[in-house]
Symmetry: C2
């Protein structure tokens, strides 16, 4: 099975303020949210070559990545398989219509450039990231693999599930180039999201897995249209097939966190699964399943299918 | 004229320790070089869609980008054309032979995966970068345009200009996965590099421009082979046509700085050009020309041609 389209460039956003705040607290307890967050739809470029499709019934298997890590008290770093491997619950947004270099896409046209939405797991090696990411951002901690669900749901199909986009009281309103009446009225999309974990032992026991969390895309701090308008305001050209990741979609409640580093408080609070196993980060043989769907009385339920990926044992010594 | 090949993914490295130190001093006077720099060939993903070729005789024109910036004393950010637009003197390294997902490329094979080298200007909007880049790295400050020279010089052609790769006394040696006898013996490449600035007034005066600086690629802290081995050690797959940027190639002397933000000390020390004009950052109508060549007695001179780009006036209000 192939990817739904050829992805030219992949951009990862960071649109959940709840994720940004929880992660920020782990690094900067006194100052969890950086001052740009409420103004800039933060994004950065990712790797398109290593995005693979979740084939129905099989998913996507990849080996635990190696990388440099350095313990705070170690005299120097070393190369080893990641010990803090995590998933990230995201949605993937596909660009359908390109723009020419130098020609920004206004908020009023932004959704006309979007084809549709899929489930997306942007796996992360938290220990590799901590050592490498200053000053230019994550690199090897992210580019070993990303997994995309095989079906793309068009924005048209999501029409019944649109909702107003609102900022919490007291938060700044978006700058004019990130604002429009349509975005305020219907910029958000209500998509129920779930992450399931199936360990190797659960597979042996015949269990389909344990649900780790639920959240809803309506809680994102920036909308699809805002991602498109921001990405192009400097003249950057998008091409058909380009992919945006929403960033990890954590909701307002701590139980709605879209990654293990949040759910386990940075590895300090192991999560107990239904069969008594515990996890802080992913172990070899773990399968992570993302699911998404939209439901509203009087409308047909829409499923986004599933996005399934399995971590296998790291290859032998590098 | 088209790009030399279809670029799947573009990765920008940061291989000049002189550039990293000078930039670091502007942000952190007491701690200019971050602790990971001497261990990790720092890199991050860039945008491939906005890389354009420098057509001989014409170059590449692009409009000054808009973006969010925020002055330290301003109550909130605003959207405006960048006022600190800069070039970056880089080399572009083209991948010729791919690797499969999950299969790292060892140092001993790394150069077999490289096709050749071109000149590369990875333009930067320093004011946009300062506001947006925490915590995930540069984004709109870089992805509005990059300019590539039209000719690729193969590694075979550069054979006579190979030199030993050496670390300064007291610096740590690379970890084993970034080390090889061949890399120590001939990992570096002696390529003379120059940046020229031709202002609009110089063009009117019939002047070909003013040489802002010279440096040499031999002074990079990480080699081509090390970039390839590091990029793939986690299993990340490269594809034919992928592009690596070397990062800004500043030399050890302050006069060898590969960007205006370095040459003008962050805009504090204007540079006086031959015709009396001054610059801190680029002005509308400025053309930046990168040149590169290799010379060694007894061998044929090899030129990398030129990489020429011109900044035009920002489009009207966004």
């Amino acid at each position: 099975m192939a990817l739904p389209c050829e992805i030219g460039d992949y951009t990862d956003f960071y649109t959940s303020i709840h994720h940004a705040t929880t992660i920020g607290k782990q690094f900067r307890p006194d100052n969890p949210l950086l001052p740009n967050y409420q103004w800039v739809p933060i994004g950065y470029h990712g790797r398109s070559s290593s995005i693979q499709v979740s084939t129905p019934g099989l998913g996507h298997e990849f080996a635990r990545p190696y990388g440099q890590t350095k313990a705070p008290d170690a005299p120097q770093p070393s190369l080893a398989p990641s010990r803090r491997l995590d998933y990230e619950l995201e949605l993937g947004v596909f660009i359908g219509r390109p723009n020419a270099p130098g020609e920004p896409i206004a908020m009023s046209d932004a959704e006309d450039h979007v084809f549709g939405i899929a489930l997306f797991n942007d796996w992360s090696a938290r220990d590799i990231q901590a050592w490498e990411y200053q000053p230019l951002g994550p690199f090897l901690s992210k580019n070993f693999a990303s997994t995309l669900s095989p079906w793309v749901v068009t924005l048209d199909a999501l029409e019944p599930f649109r909702e107003p986009f609102r900022r919490p009281d007291g938060d700044p309103q978006p700058l004019p180039y990130l604002d429009s009446a349509a975005n305020r009225e219907r910029g958000a999309i209500a998509i129920e999201l779930e992450v399931w974990l199936q360990t190797a032992r659960m597979r042996e026991q015949g269990s389909a897995g344990y649900r780790l969390m639920r959240s809803n895309y309506r809680d994102a701090y920036w909308t699809v249209a805002q991602m498109v308008a921001h990405h192009t305001v400097n003249g950057c050209n998008l091409r058909a097939g380009d992919l945006f990741g929403s960033g990890t979609l954590s909701g307002p409640d701590p139980s709605e966190a879209g990654s293990l580093v949040e759910l386990s408080a940075g590895g300090k609070r192991p999560i107990t699964l239904a069969n008594g196993e515990t996890r802080t980060f992913l172990e070899d043989g773990d399968t992570v399943i993302l699911r998404g769907y939209c439901e509203r009385t009087g409308y047909r339920r829409i499923g986004l299918g599933e996005c399934r990926g399995t971590v296998t044992t790291a290859a032998r010594g590098r």
